[in-house]
């Protein structure tokens, strides 16, 4: 690994990241030493599938991918009786700018995920799981494959795990560079070997998913939480976080802060605390201008809005969202137009091109912003951006339309004055 130093930095010991400090945690021996696979043993030998599902439901584990859908509920949607095979897809297509938590889990503690996969599959009755990992994470994928091989060797995967008669195969599937494949139906399409075009919902993947079969799709971080829940119980997990939103979250902090990195903190930690206490505040000489609290698709918060609890409901209350809990810090020296340009370029580039508002709307917005940043902005362009973004919002096939429009909307509205000062003055 060319820069192994970079893979470990500023880690807070918690549920998921407890042993990240260990250099060889990804080796199964090291993992077993630390009490690994005990949860699997407990789940498979002492618990019923429904019991596991109930425990996860009670734990208030919400999806860590972005939408925050309760994980237990998701599992229960899968029809119990179905002659079709069922599948588990692990969403490791971490493409949201600002997000890198899954990479940490996969590199440092792949067995935690494998454990989660085994428990979830057992609970739902799945015999094949695919980990859809983004194409750029080649090294990560290799490490995961290695971990899988080790787990299989130790009998935690494959035929009749722990002699319970439960079979499970886990495969790694690498994407090839498409942000849209982080959307669950697009991920399925991609996994089926097609273009990553999101599917119409309904039918939901829980009933018609991968290869037209019932499918559970969970984020890496979500599944990585499962072993702790099984081992320590739902109340313990719930206690770590908030009433409806249990556990901890891995907050990834990037931007000009003193200590960028991941921080596993209880759900509901305030944004100010994350930035100033854990990440060490901004670099010397920089001043906070704004924060994007949940990955690029989350609406931006201004510097005076950071006294907010980082959980789904609180952030939704101020018109933003927790998303993947990726905190991007923006300093005073950065022009908002540059931020907007990056946002617009990203979504124009990553739109899959299937549905009209996203395909044309994102590129239109990008063209306007390009023009503005080239100094040819005209009066009314900011309002035009707002209008176009609202035309995309809520009208697209998949959530990417919202993801593309929300940051533009929030930037254009909250920083209207700054943006308008970039326009040509006069009626232009």
């Amino acid at each position: 690994m060319a820069c192994s130093k970079a893979w470990t930095r500023h880690v807070d010991e918690k549920i998921l990241t407890e042993h990240f400090g260990l250099a060889n945690l990804y080796e199964i021996e090291a993992y077993l030493e630390r009490g690994g696979y005990r949860a699997v043993t407990k789940a498979l030998q002492e618990m019923t599938p429904d019991g596991i599902m109930d425990e996860v439901k009670k734990a208030g584990l919400r999806g860590r991918g972005g939408a925050g859908f309760p994980a237990g509920m998701k599992w229960s949607f899968v029809p119990k009786t179905s002659d079709k095979p069922k599948y588990l897809c692990v969403n490791a297509d971490e493409g949201e700018p600002g997000t890198f938590k899954d990479r940490y889990i996969l590199t440092h503690n792949p067995h935690l995920l494998i454990e989660g996969i085994i428990i979830a599959s057992f609970s739902v009755g799945i015999h094949a799981a695919y980990v859809y990992i983004r194409g750029e994470y080649e090294a990560v994928a290799q490490r995961l494959e290695q971990a899988l091989a080790q787990a299989a060797q130790k009998g935690y995967l494959g035929k009749s795990i722990l002699e319970t008669g439960f079979d499970l195969d886990v495969f790694v599937h690498r994407g090839a560079g498409a942000y849209i494949c982080g959307e669950e139906t697009a991920l399925l399409e991609s996994l089926e070997g097609k273009r990553g075009h999101p599917r119409l919902k309904p039918p939901f993947p829980a009933t018609v998913g991968l290869f037209q079969c019932p499918t559970v799709i969970n984020n890496v971080e979500t599944l990585a939480n499962i072993p702790a829940i099984i081992q320590k119980g739902a109340p313990w997990f719930l206690d770590k976080g908030l009433a409806k939103d249990g556990g901890t979250r891995i907050f990834g902090v990037s931007g000009p802060v003193v200590r960028p990195g991941i921080y596993e903190l209880p759900v509901g930690t305030s944004l100010r605390e994350i930035i100033y206490t854990h990440a060490g505040g901004l670099k010397p000489g920089k001043k906070l201008k704004a924060v994007i609290p949940g990955g690029m698709s989350a609406p931006i918060l201004k510097a005076d809005e950071i006294d907010i609890k980082m959980d789904f409901d609180s952030l939704a209350g101020v018109g933003s969202m927790l998303g993947s809990a990726a905190v991007i810090v923006i300093d005073e020296a950065t022009p908002i137009l540059d931020v907007l340009k990056k946002v617009a370029k990203f979504y124009a580039h990553e739109s899959c091109g299937q549905c009209t508002p996203c395909r044309i709307g994102t590129s239109w917005i990008h063209k306007i912003i390009k023009r503005m940043s080239a100094g040819h902005g005209e009066k009314g362009d900011v309002d035009e951006l707002v209008r176009l973004a609202s035309n995309i919002k809520g009208k697209t096939l998949c959530p990417m339309g919202d993801a593309a429009s929300l940051p533009v909307l929030s930037l254009a509205q909250k920083f209207k004055n700054e943006l308008e000062s970039c326009l040509k003055d006069g009626s232009g």
Binding site: A2, C3, A6, R9, P85, E94, G95, E96, P97, G98, T99, F100, R103, R134, G135, E136, Y137, E138, A139, D169, F171, H173, R174, G175, A176, G177, A178, Y179, S190, L191, E192, G193, K194, R195, G196, F211, G252, V253, S254, G255, P256, P260, G261, I262, I292, M296, A326, I328, V329, I330, D331, T334, D338, V339, K342, V343, F346, H349, E350, C352
Partner: protein, 157 residues
């Protein structure tokens, strides 16, 4: 070019194909494997893959053109992909690109005449904590500064 696939690779491909209930689903990993060997996915490779997975070549082309990681034309020996997305550009991603362009004497999307380097600008690489970052082939390099880049380039090969 496609004829010269090593038997080892063919075995690997067969193993990958077997992982999926439908052959078609293996297209992404198979393409990855082939591209690693051939450098790009041209029409020959597409037809070969289509034959292997029992689909029409057009389906392969659809997939190849959709995903950014497949190249229809070969790239240089070192494919330098620099992230220019928000977290990286906050930390000076543009400077990295400018420096690389100057240093390699090529623009974004171009390959050096000696086929050593190809420079690409990519969206988020998922390493925002070490911004600005870049990827040379599949290796990540973070916290880049012009000096560090110079050192890296020198160390290559």
């Amino acid at each position: 070019m496609i004829a010269g696939l090593s038997s080892e690779l063919k075995k690997k491909i067969a193993e990958v194909v077997a992982r999926y209930p439908k052959k078609e689903a293996a297209i992404l990993p198979v393409l990855h494997l082939i591209q690693r060997e051939t450098g790009a996915i041209g029409a020959d490779e597409e037809r070969w893959v289509a034959g292997l997975l029992e689909i029409r070549p057009i389906k392969v082309r659809e997939v190849v053109t959709f995903y950014t990681m497949y190249h229809q034309k070969p790239v240089g020996r070192f494919h330098i992909q620099v992230c220019s997305n928000l977290p990286c550009s906050l930390m000076g991603g543009e400077k990295v690109i400018d420096h690389l362009q100057r240093r390699l004497g090529i623009k974004i999307g171009e390959t050096t005449p000696d086929q050593r380097f190809t420079l690409s600008e990519v969206e988020c690489l998922g390493a925002c904590e070490q911004a600005p970052c870049m990827m040379i082939n599949f290796d990540y390099y973070g916290d880049l500064t012009p000096e560090k880049i110079d050192g890296l380039l020198k160390g290559l090969d």
